[in-house]
């Protein structure tokens, strides 16, 4: 798979802002709308947990700890993934970087979450089989979490980028990369076919 570089677009970028990307400087609102889908997808785990905790009739404190305590840090990591894409540090469309991010971010989130939940519930802070085994296990569980995150990201976020592309230079770039990739792939194929045809003609 080749590497495709889209033209740099600066017309949509702000003169100054909190995040400089290779495709322009983003304002706060542009950063927010770019980070939103990753944050929402990652927060699904915490949101489901919080909603069900409420439905199960647990105390408000526990509901908040279980729901928000998990959703917020997951959302922050999900948003970070989007910004790493935006700054060009992570490539588009591949599972590896998403897995890397979650393998790093997920275990400390879960360790802190388990400890805080125990504290709020008034229990002693402990996990079965010890903290080291617990942390290693969370590293392994982070991989399927990353796969689910990446899956939803690949299937649905490009639609959001398309929606905001006219006011966000990075989204515009992502859409262009996808279109250019398709175009370049077609051209590459056509070239290959042409070369093969020429070789066959030469042999005759």
């Amino acid at each position: 798979m080749g590497v495709f570089r889209a033209e740099r677009i600066t017309a949509l970028s702000s003169p100054e802002g909190p995040l400089a990307t290779p495709w322009g400087v983003l304002s706060w609102s542009q950063v927010r709308e770019l980070a939103l889908p990753g944050a929402l997808i990652a927060a699904i785990g915490g949101m489901i947990a919080g909603g069900l905790a409420a439905a199960a009739g647990l105390s408000l404190a526990i509901v908040l700890v279980i729901g928000i305590g998990l959703a917020v840090p997951l959302a922050l990591a999900g948003a970070a993934y989007e910004l790493l894409l935006a700054t060009g540090r992570f490539p588009l469309g591949t599972l590896g970087p998403a897995a890397l991010l979650w393998v790093i971010a997920f275990p400390p989130i879960r360790v802190a979450h388990a400890a805080v939940t125990d504290l709020v519930a008034g229990d002693s802070v402990a996990v079965p089989h010890g903290w080291a085994a617990f942390a290693i296990y969370q590293v392994l569980v982070a991989v399927p979490f990353a796969i689910g995150f990446w899956w939803l990201h690949e299937n649905f976020v490009p639609r959001w980028w398309f929606h905001i592309r006219e006011r966000n230079p990075v989204a515009e770039h992502f859409i262009r990369v996808q279109l250019q990739y398709a175009g370049a792939a077609e051209a590459e194929k056509a070239q290959r076919r042409e070369r093969a045809r020429a070789r066959r003609a030469k042999r005759r």
């Binding site: 199960a56 939940t117 569980v141 979490f145 299937n155 076919r193 045809r197």
Partner: protein, 499 residues
């Protein structure tokens, strides 16, 4: 995103004498030679394996295999690995026929001997008119909310029917819904596993997958367990006719020669239906350019099969098994119910086991069972209507006077109305009874389609497109194994309860 949006039959090719070129396959009309479309380059343009994952991850993964692990220990999971590996091979071979011809495997069966196709037609009705999968999810929903399972199942059925009636292209909505649900299921399963599993449980499960030396435990050969093991092998990955319907989804996705066949439209958009060719078509396998396109399609479907189908099926099953091991570990009642095989009671006990740790986890577990049931139903009702309408359109005299969308609508609403009647007035012993019959017939169908597939791909495709002999032999052995185990179980133990 569909791979190809252009859905015209496409120009035929002529030989030196100006006669239309064709490929004679079996007893039916020859297939015209048309151009093969380009395969998509990007691996992340996912194929319909995703639908197969959504259907396949169901009862076997969430109940039958976790139960066997509790009874026999994690080392018995080597059988699951063998079952899923065989299903992956079947999937690749189904794709070979569908992408090379644009025809469903049902059409392929008819090309060899039409009664084989009718056998599948009748079996599909016998197995899939029962709303078993939806009622499983609805049961869990009742546990969650207190809303009666009959009410939520009926509402679920009507929602599915309306959805598939109003949409323009049915495949697109099936793909979008299931892509979302599979994503949420994977994330949710990971979260639950993060709460309840342990490194030791995970290690045992992973190691058990490759413990081929473990063999078959003595107790597994008894009347009590042998039929259940047969049913569990059948439920490893997609069961029943799901692999056969995969050929129809590939066609609507526009994979390979499927691009020359029109897609199924919702009933309200029947008027926009394109002309449907009388047969599928074949490409010129001796044209190097066409051959290179074919290789690209095979690569695309391999990514789809291995990464998506095999990878996610294994992932979700491993997580559910770890969860079951944890449940059995902390809750003796869960262990007993799993061993006794009372599925509904066991699911309740597993819920309670998770609730011992935190109430929310029990709720979350049932929520996922509800999603598993509903997502399976979305795919199954579409698949049933799709398969039956395809066979009816091509092989029932006079059916071509109706549009494919009308036939699809008739089968869809027929199965929905029947499902509602059964839910409201059917046997009160509930979903388990339905699923046991389904498990028995699933195994029979799987044996039959393995043998059919071995025959279609060897007898109907040009030599260059045929699979290797090793593949054909594995398919044939797989078919014989499914049928042999089923017959042995029935004759030796006289038991048809496979799960």
């Amino acid at each position: 995103m569909a791979v190809g949006d252009t859905r015209a039959p496409g120009a035929v090719t002529l030989d030196e004498r100006g006669v239309e070129r064709g490929w004679k396959a079996g007893r039916l009309a020859p297939m015209p030679i048309r151009r093969l479309p380009e395969a998509p380059q990007a691996a992340h343009i996912l194929g319909p394996a995703m639908i197969l994952v959504a259907l396949g991850v169901g009862l076997g993964e969430t109940f039958l295999w976790p139960r066997l692990v509790i009874v026999f220990g994690p080392n018995i999971r080597w059988m699951f690995l063998v079952g899923v590996l065989l299903q992956t091979l079947v999937m690749l071979e189904m794709a070979r026929y569908a992408m090379a011809t644009g025809e469903s495997i049902f059409f392929g069966a008819a090309r060899i001997f039409q009664p084989i196709m009718w056998l599948f037609f009748v079996s599909a009705i016998a197995v899939y008119i029962w709303p078993g999968h939806l009622s499983t999810g609805a049961d869990a929903f009742e546990e969650l909310t207190g809303i009666s399972w009959q009410l939520s199942a009926c509402i679920g059925l009507v929602i599915i029917g309306v959805m598939f009636t109003v949409v323009k292209i049915v495949y697109n909505i099936v793909e979008a819904i299931l892509a979302f649900l599979v994503g949420v299921l994977v994330i949710g399963s990971a979260i639950v596993a993060a709460f309840v599993g342990s490194l030791a449980d995970l290690g045992d499960v992973l190691l058990g997958l490759v413990r081929f030396d473990y063999g078959i435990p003595h107790a597994a050969g008894t009347a009590a367990w042998f039929p259940i093991i047969v049913g569990s092998i059948a439920f490893a990955g997609p069961s029943g006719m799901q692999q056969m319907w995969y050929t129809l989804w590939l066609r609507d996705k526009g994979a390979g020669m499927g691009v020359h066949m029109p897609r199924v439209r919702g009933l309200l958009h029947a008027g926009e239906e394109e002309t449907i060719p009388d047969t599928g078509s074949m490409f010129d396998v001796d044209d190097p350019e066409e051959w290179s396109k074919w290789q690209a399609w095979r690569k695309w479907v391999r990514v789809d099969a291995v990464l998506l189908f095999f990878g996610i099926t294994m992932l979700v099953t491993i997580i559910f098994t770890v969860m079951a091991m944890h449940a059995a570990d902390v809750n003796g009642e869960a262990r007993n119910q799993l061993i006794n095989g009372e599925r509904d009671a066991a699911l309740l006990a597993m819920r309670d086991a998770f609730a011992d740790k935190a109430t929310i986890l029990g709720t979350l577990f049932f929520c996922f069972i509800a999603i598993v049931g509903w997502k399976a139903s979305v795919g199954l009702f579409d698949a049933f209507a799709r398969g039956q309408s395809d066979m009816t359109y091509y092989f029932v005299p006079g059916a071509k006077k109706l549009k494919m969308s009308y036939l699809y609508g008739i089968f869809l609403w027929g199965v929905i109305v029947f499902g509602i009647i059964i839910i409201l007035f059917g046997p009160v012993d509930g979903p388990a009874g339905i699923l046991n019959v389904l498990a028995f017939l699933s195994t029979f169908i799987m044996g039959a389609y393995c043998l059919t597939l071995a025959a279609t791909n060897r007898m109907l495709l040009p030599k260059k497109l045929q699979p290797t002999w090793i593949t054909t032999i594995i398919l044939a052995l797989g078919g014989i194994a499914y049928l042999g185990l089923l017959l042995y179980s029935t004759i030796k133990f006289g038991v048809t309860d496979l799960g």
